[in-house]
């Protein structure tokens, strides 16, 4: 049964889409990256939001890009500068992304990651990325919620640990889903060094083309799905596009330091290899 509690709300909200006078145009919703000059090399940082006007307790990020005939996989760092945007450091490292189409292709933005995370007012947020192909540019949407009316009702952490990233390939850790509606094997993504209070999953593909089929993915430990964690879905198409059903809420958890996190997948047809990064809030 639910307890009878006073209501709770965030008093403040800001994003990098609607703070401008006009709604961003469909194809460029969010902030565009600089192009990379070479594969697997970090781009120059770009500011997402300058000098936050309030303390943030929930950060939502979404990514989109144009699919194509090149290897569209990459890793994104969300950056922070407490002093206002001149000296960046990594807040969230190496989030995997892939063929997430522009918002105009009938789906809106479908690739979201949500982090219950404290970020101090006055801090600037930025990002940079590295990609498997130098032609890749991406767009990042950042939404910040802050100043909860009842702080004791909202768990949030202060740092994020990333597992599974391979910066030399601009991808995460290989997972091979099972074919024809069968689950594949659990694959280790990495072992935590902190106690996590929330999780987010980064997803990317493998190469410059995708097969037209659908996938389920789950997060686990000890060859069992973590209780309370949701299932993810990816629909892929031969046009090198992928769309997602990601959890609508932060994936809160309470996993001890030393936990080896795993991912497994299921494909409706013949599976391709996917890559994963896992981001633990502590």
């Amino acid at each position: 049964m639910a307890l009878v509690l006073p209501t709770f709300r965030f008093a403040r909200f800001v994003d990098n889409v609607t703070t401008v006078a006009a709604v961003a145009q469909v194809n460029d919703t969010g902030t565009q990256s600089n192009s990379a000059s070479n594969p697997h090399v970090d781009t120059t940082p770009v500011t997402l939001l300058s000098a936050l006007a309030f303390d943030v307790h929930l950060l939502e990020v979404a990514f989109h890009q144009e699919g194509g005939t090149v290897d569209c996989n990459g890793l994104v760092d969300i950056l922070v500068d407490p002093a206002g945007g001149t000296s960046w450091s990594e807040l969230i490292s190496d989030i995997a992304l892939s063929y997430h189409p522009y918002a105009t292709t009938s789906s809106g933005l479908t690739y979201w990651l949500r982090f219950p995370l404290f970020i101090r007012a006055g801090t600037s947020l930025g990002f940079r990325h590295r990609a498997a192909d130098s032609l890749l540019t991406i767009y990042v949407v950042a939404r910040c919620h802050g100043e909860p009316s009842r702080p004791e009702l909202w768990w949030c952490g202060q740092k994020i640990e990333t597992l599974g990233a391979n910066p030399s390939t601009s991808k995460g850790t290989n997972v091979t889903p099972g074919n024809s509606n069968a689950w594949g094997s659990w694959t280790n993504i990495g072992a935590s060094t902190r106690r996590y209070g929330a999780l987010a999953l980064g997803i990317n593909g493998t190469d410059a083309s995708t097969l037209n089929t659908q996938y389920f993915f789950q997060i686990g430990a000890g060859d069992v799905q973590l209780p309370g964690t949701p299932q993810y879905m990816v629909a892929a198409a031969t046009a090198s596009l992928m769309q997602y059903i990601t959890p609508a809420v932060p994936v809160w958890c309470d996993e001890p330091s030393g936990t080896t996190f795993q991912v497994r997948g299921m494909c409706a047809g013949t599976a391709e290899i996917f890559n994963f990064t896992l981001h633990g809030v502590y």
Binding site: M1, A2, L3, L5, T7, F8, R9, F10, R12, F13, V17, T18, A22, V23, V26, T29, H57, L58, P101, A103, T104, T105, S106, S107, G108, F118, R143, P151, E152, W155, C156, Q158, N181, R195, Y196, G197, N212, Q214, F216, P227, G228, T229, P230, Q231, M233, A235, A237, L241, M242, Q243, I245, P247, A248, V249, P250, W252, D254, M266, A268, G269
Partner: protein, 282 residues
């Protein structure tokens, strides 16, 4: 500042993703010309639920056909023989789902409700379409329950919907001129205090959508609702309307007797009136 507290998690998660990713979710057929379709059972809960997310999609409306559709999420505490409406009039018109051609289009309308539903209850769905032909829809429900710290999660017990007019329509929001804000439009007056709010939008009556993007703001007393993000809508000439909403539960503190409003901002010369309905968790 974030308080130092014990982590929080939901112990249980369930969904109707189904046995395989090629046929995810549950199919239902909306009624025609504003009439209710047949109720379809979606899932029976095996744990208490404290958070419910809803995704709805459909094949896109053929050109020349009004694409409006309102869905009710149904509940039967006894297992699925005597339905009553749990959440009414979720607007999911002109949503695309399932793979269409080379673009993998998933559900484009989604909502999150921090809502208590007792274990053993059956959940169902039914819909009413504005078109003359009953078009197939799909619904995906994801349910999280049994929070590890019940004192850290606010949830309500029922949902009030404002803005329904007739047939398969909500309250049409006045369209502003290009690059200007439209006038505030009253959506309805609450009869109880709301602790969370979700919004529904769909193109009002248009049977031949123009390509464009719009922002919907929410307010009270012709003032923006603080802390509440706007919603972006992207329409296309292929008759789909994708939403960029922050699906994460939008906790709020709206008192009983408050008249909630919406207004529209658009950047295109094309005129796409938008239905707005608001769903408040009580």
């Amino acid at each position: 500042m974030g308080l130092i507290r014990q982590p929080f998690r939901f112990r249980h998660y369930s969904s109707n993703f189904g046995a395989g990713p090629a046929s995810y979710g549950t199919a239902f057929t909306a009624g025609t010309s504003g009439a209710l379709g047949t109720a379809v059972s979606v899932m029976t809960l095996t744990h208490d639920v404290h958070l419910l997310t809803v995704h709805i999609g459909a094949t896109v409306a053929p050109s020349g056909v009004v694409g409006t559709m309102l869905a009710d999420i149904l509940v039967d505490p006894a297992g699925g023989t005597n339905w009553s409406s749990l959440i009414s009039y979720l607007a999911a018109g002109n949503c695309a789902s399932l793979a269409t051609g080379t673009v993998p289009v998933l559900y484009t309308a989604a909502w999150a409700f921090p809502l208590f539903i007792r274990s053993g209850s059956a959940l169902g769905v039914r819909g009413r379409g504005g078109h003359s032909v009953g078009r197939g829809q799909r619904v995906l429900l994801q349910a999280w329950g049994e929070p590890s710290r019940p004192d850290a999660w606010w949830c309500g017990q029922r949902v009030e919907t404002l803005g329904y007019t007739s047939g398969a329509n909500g309250t049409s929001v006045t369209v502003g001129s290009e690059n200007t804000l439209g006038a505030w439009v009253n959506i309805g007056t609450t009869t109880a205090a709301w602790g969370a709010m979700a919004s529904s939008v769909q193109p009002t009556t248009d049977s031949s959508l123009a390509t464009g993007e719009q922002r919907i703001d929410f307010g009270i007393g012709s003032t923006l609702l603080s802390g509440h993000p706007p919603l972006l809508v992207f329409t296309s000439s292929s008759e789909d309307a994708s939403r960029m909403a922050s699906v994460c539960p939008m906790f709020c503190a709206v008192p009983a007797g408050a008249t909630l409003q919406a207004r529209q901002f658009r950047t295109d010369a094309s005129d796409v009136p938008i239905d707005v309905l608001l769903h408040g968790v009580i």
